[in-house]
Amino acid sequence: MTPQVRFRSTVCRRTLAAASSVLLMALAACGNDGINNSTPQPPRGIIVLDGFIQPGLTFLGDTGSASTKLTLAPTTEFDAGGFTLLRDTVLTVSSRGAGDLLYVTDVRTSTTRRIQLPIRSNPSRARLLAGTGGQTLIGVALRDSSSVALVSFAGAGAATSTRITNVGTCPTDLFQFDNATWIVDANANCKVNYAVQGDVRLIRVPNIGTARDTILLPGLRGSGASALVDGDVAYISAGGDASFASFPYTLIATGGITKVDLRGKRVLTAKKMPANTYGADVKLGLDGFLYVSLYQDLASFTDRIIKVRTADLSVVTSASADWLVLTGATGTAVSCSSGQADALGRLHCIQNGTGSVTSLLVFSPAGAEVRRVAANQGGVDLAIRP
């Protein structure tokens, strides 16, 4: 496939940007580690995943209304509901309902390659892992085969794949930590109807040896469980349990977040989402808070965002609601999804309007809308490039 993207910057601007980046990296390398200790800076940009209609990635700057679009899947099915961004690599997957495909995008070059995963394996999330020997290594949780695929390739070379098998009922996410691969098992019947079978589990598979550890995460339920790693702590989140077999839908359990000490292999604390809510899509804001996107209920499916402290998972509440109260330019209430704050504490999120037209919204730390810019159509996820 040939990616279609247009750059508006000139060669001179690119050179200047590259030089600035090198300089900034050098400065960062000389300073203390962690962005929290630096002077907060605006983001380099925002990436929005257009998950349906015309799948692709929309790139936006921190200011202005200009955007560029990188087409992802013009000839094939595509149903990704999210993506991961690490070291300028965007990873996203299509499930069994859309061909079991992995999309690897290099944001710097705006090139994408499509890799076929095992047929009917029903991939969930892909993570960029630490490869060796110049190889790119990607781990993909395969829900319907109780395994994780480790896909590696060098440059434009052919991809090869190995598997970690028997990693739970429905592996949905993974990460590497301390010479081990950690797999999030949603413990749901993903092969059939995603019915929750029990609490989410975290399975540790060491790189060497066969001794595995399984950490139970009591009360955490949801077929779309995911992990977020910050230092030696992981935040495992799951959206809850609900029955969609009949209408109206019924909520069985709300979503939640569980904080896990990876070195101690133990649960530190857990937090349930507010009553009646469904979902728990967690992002780590560049301001150090967790931002949880969820639905207010199973009737209206109104998008809400909750701000959570990482230390004790307590909610930064507003005066009138469990979630952030966001107001538009005219003072009316605004709802949006896929929230994440930049280092300045400004919440970024997306909103799909009539015709699934997507807007990127930015709110001040006080919750007032300060920016609204078009971001193509069919937006399902967002990430801020620090």
């Binding site: 015309q54 079991d100 077999a245 209408f247 015709g355 159509q377």
Partner: protein
């Protein structure tokens, strides 16, 4: 098998021995020009000296019948639902050449207005040797008979529609929908003898379910028809007419195609009984290049098979008429090209339609019941199995008050489906229409109508239409130029398809507003020239349609459901030309549409509507041999509900089908003089073009089909 075929041939041959010294009488509906079945013809002598030429009363079994008649006879024509008519003596009967020409008699429906009755008395009976051209005032339409379609290689309704101008068929998973004038398939109303086939639950009718053997003709009419067809006919109408034929047909083709169908009719108990049945099977395991994976590879479609069985029964009496149509189909629910998750999924659809009509003191009562049952089975994930049953019942009363025709109707829909989904709604409507036309000739005609639908949950939805045409020039006896125009409004109430049937997955119910065509306007010129054997016609029209609250499907997670979008505007040109010279005839059509949705600041080209589309046919016909080359092409088609983007368009395509046909009847030693036998061989997609009518669902490449049709044809 061969013995059974021989018995069938002999049985057909023994019936209806050939009349001699006869004339052909064809009876049509005066409004629609559609042929009428079950008409009672009685020839009575007006002069004692020609008594020997009279014949007993008989019922018209096909569209036409051959009766013995003389210029001094009177012909009594009667049928249920129509005003009886008497044709007396010369000149009408006297002008009929007994060996060649056809006398066309039109009957007015019982709800005819006073003006229509008066005008009909003034309209001369037509005596022609050629097929009539059906038209309605100001409306672009085209008709194709099944006989002509079979000669051109069609043995299914799908194939017949593919031969017709202005049509755009969209096929996926064995289901075929029809698009007219850039409309979505649920915006096209399909009727069989006026009976709506679109299911209120889905908004669609699968034309694959209708046996060709039971049909006489198909007419596509472009544009909204709020008064004649009613709610749902926002893009156009496909009107099918049934026929009492005696026909049997077998077809074999590539990819496991096997089709058998037949139709029969007989008189009993004072009524005409007609029946038809069809059975079709295909594996559809064609190969295609799958470019949806990591690298293109050649593979075969799997779980793409289909099996269909259809039966119909009709009883036409002098005072009442009953029609029953039932079908069942099972097909593999093959997924898009790179998706193997549906390789075991199956779908079964059962449909039953019953319709009755009877006259009541100068008015007509029509009632009907439709039932649709849909079952989706996923053997690998039984928890996802779904089932839905939809019912629709309608009753309509038609009549006329002085010069104004009126219609009143009530109906109700009900659907139950897996997942606790239950929906029902009641509806009613009232419509009035008045038509004028020039006295003595057909220089001009105008019709105006209005309709109000009252639908539970949607309120009152008024619509109106105005159409007219006028002869603007006449060049000699054989050339005339007609100007025409039509404006109409239409409404489509959200169907349950919009809420549920789009996917095997269970969807949440979203309240939608009715889709409103505020204006559907067309105007153009039509030129007709020539005689029966040498003729030429040409027409062109400019069209515009504005749709408010268009219901468009926007997939995506929990918002996976259609939505009302802002405004959809279509502007375009439609044109067609035909030329027949001796044994050769040629026809061509082209449409150019710019259809754009405007919503949320975006301009979205309507999915699957090509900017340019067209078709052409070249036919060579001798008495026994026929050859047809049919070409169909269309430009790039967007397939997403997003802004125009070449990355998300299906490529332009050009398809050629070639058919040769041989009629066996003219052969020297053909043993059954009253049976026509037709053998056709078709090469479809002769250039082996890879293409998709719906994105992700590849269509077959080059394929072949061989068919044999035996038809009783009294002479």
């Amino acid at each position: 098998m061969s013995i059974a075929a021989l018995l069938l041939v002999n049985l057909i041959a023994q019936l209806n021995q050939p009349p001699r010294d006869a004339a052909t009488i064809c009876v049509t509906d005066a409004r629609t020009r559609a042929p009428l079945l079950g008409v009672r013809l009685t020839v009575r002598p007006s002069a004692p000296v020609r008594r020997q030429s009279s014949a007993a009363a008989r019922r018209l079994e096909g569209a036409c019948a051959v009766v013995r008649v003389s210029p001094t006879d009177s012909l009594h024509v009667a049928r249920a639902g129509y005003i009886a008519r008497v044709v007396v003596g010369a000149p009408p009967l006297g002008s009929v050449r007994l060996e060649g020409d056809t006398l066309w008699v039109s009957l007015l429906p019982r709800d005819a207005t006073k003006a229509e009755r008066a005008a009909e008395q003034l309209v001369p009976l037509r005596v022609t040797a050629a097929r009539a051209v059906a038209r309605t005032a100001g409306r672009t339409s085209a008709t194709l008979t099944t006989t002509d379609a079979r000669i051109a290689g069609a043995s299914t309704v799908n194939a017949l529609l593919g031969l017709m101008p202005y049509t755009n068929l969209r096929t996926a998973r064995g289901e075929t929908g029809l698009s007219l004038r850039g409309a979505r398939r649920e915006q096209v109303a399909i009727t069989l003898d006026g009976m709506p086939l679109n299911d209120p639950a889905t908004g669609m009718a699968d034309v694959s379910d209708i046996p060709l053997a039971g049909l006489r003709s198909a007419t596509v009419s472009l544009g909204a028809d709020p008064v004649g067809t009613g709610a749902g006919a926002t893009g156009g109408v496909l009107a099918l007419t049934s026929s009492a034929q005696r026909v049997a047909s077998v077809r074999l083709g590539a990819f496991g195609q096997r089709t058998m169908e037949g139709a029969w009719h007989a008189q009993a108990a004072g009524a005409l009984w007609q029946a038809s049945a069809a059975w079709r099977n295909a594996t559809n395991d064609f190969t295609f290049v799958n470019d949806a994976g990591a690298a293109p590879q050649r593979e075969a479609r799997v779980n793409n098979d289909e099996q269909r069985a259809t039966a119909s029964l009709g009883v036409i009496g002098s005072r009442a008429q009953l029609s029953v149509l039932g079908s069942t189909s099972e097909r593999g629910m093959v997924g898009p090209a790179n998706v193997r998750s549906y390789d075991a999924d199956r779908a079964r659809t059962d449909r039953v339609l019953v319709r009755a009509q009877a006259g009541l003191r100068g008015t007509m009562l029509v009632s009907g019941v439709r039932r649709l049952a849909l079952r989706y089975v996923d053997p690998t994930r039984p928890a996802l199995d779904t089932r839905a049953v939809a019912w629709a019942a309608d009753a309509e009363w038609r009549g006329a008050l002085r010069d104004i025709a009126w219609r009143l109707g009530v109906g109700a829909d009900r659907l139950t489906a897996t997942g606790g989904i239950t929906q029902q709604r009641r509806r009613g409507f009232a419509a009035v229409q008045r038509a004028w036309r020039a006295a003595n000739d057909d220089r001009w005609s105008i019709d105006v109508g209005a309709r109000a639908d009252l639908i539970e949950g949607s309120g009152v939805l008024p619509t109106a239409s105005l159409g007219g045409e006028r002869r603007v020039a006449r060049l000699g006896e054989r050339v005339q130029l007609v100007g025409f125009g039509r404006v109409a409004q239409a409404v489509r109430v959200p169907t349950l398809y919009d809420l549920y049937f789009s996917s095997p997955q269970r969807l949440f119910v979203r309240a939608l507003s009715p889709e409103r065509v505020d204006l559907d306007a067309s105007t153009g010129l039509r030129m007709v020239a020539g005689s029966a054997r040498r003729r030429a016609s040409m027409e062109g029209a400019v069209v515009a349609r504005n749709t408010r609250d268009a219901i468009v499907w926007f997939p995506g997670n929990f918002g996976w459901s259609p939505a009302n979008v802002g405004v959809e505007r279509l502007r375009g040109v439609e044109s067609r030309a035909e030329l027949a010279l001796g044994i050769a005839s040629a026809s061509a059509w082209v449409t150019a549409y710019d259809a754009v949705l405007s919503t949320g600041g975006l301009r979205i080209p309507t999915p699957y509507v090509p900017r340019l589309a067209g078709g052409a046919q070249l036919q060579l016909n001798t008495a026994a041999q026929h050859a047809t080359v049919a070409w169909r092409g269309m430009g790039a088609r967007p397939y997403t509900a997003g802004p125009r983007n070449p990355d998300f368009e299906l490529a332009a395509l050009s398809l050629v089908d070639i058919t040769v046909a041989q009629q066996l009847h003219p052969l020297p030693h053909w043993p059954w003089p009253f049976l026509d036998a037709l053998v056709t061989f078709s090469l479809e997609n002769a250039a082996d073009v890879s293409w998709q009518s719906v994105r992700g669902f590849p269509s077959p490449g080059r394929s072949w089909a061989l068919s044999f049709t035996l038809q009783h044809s009294p002479r």
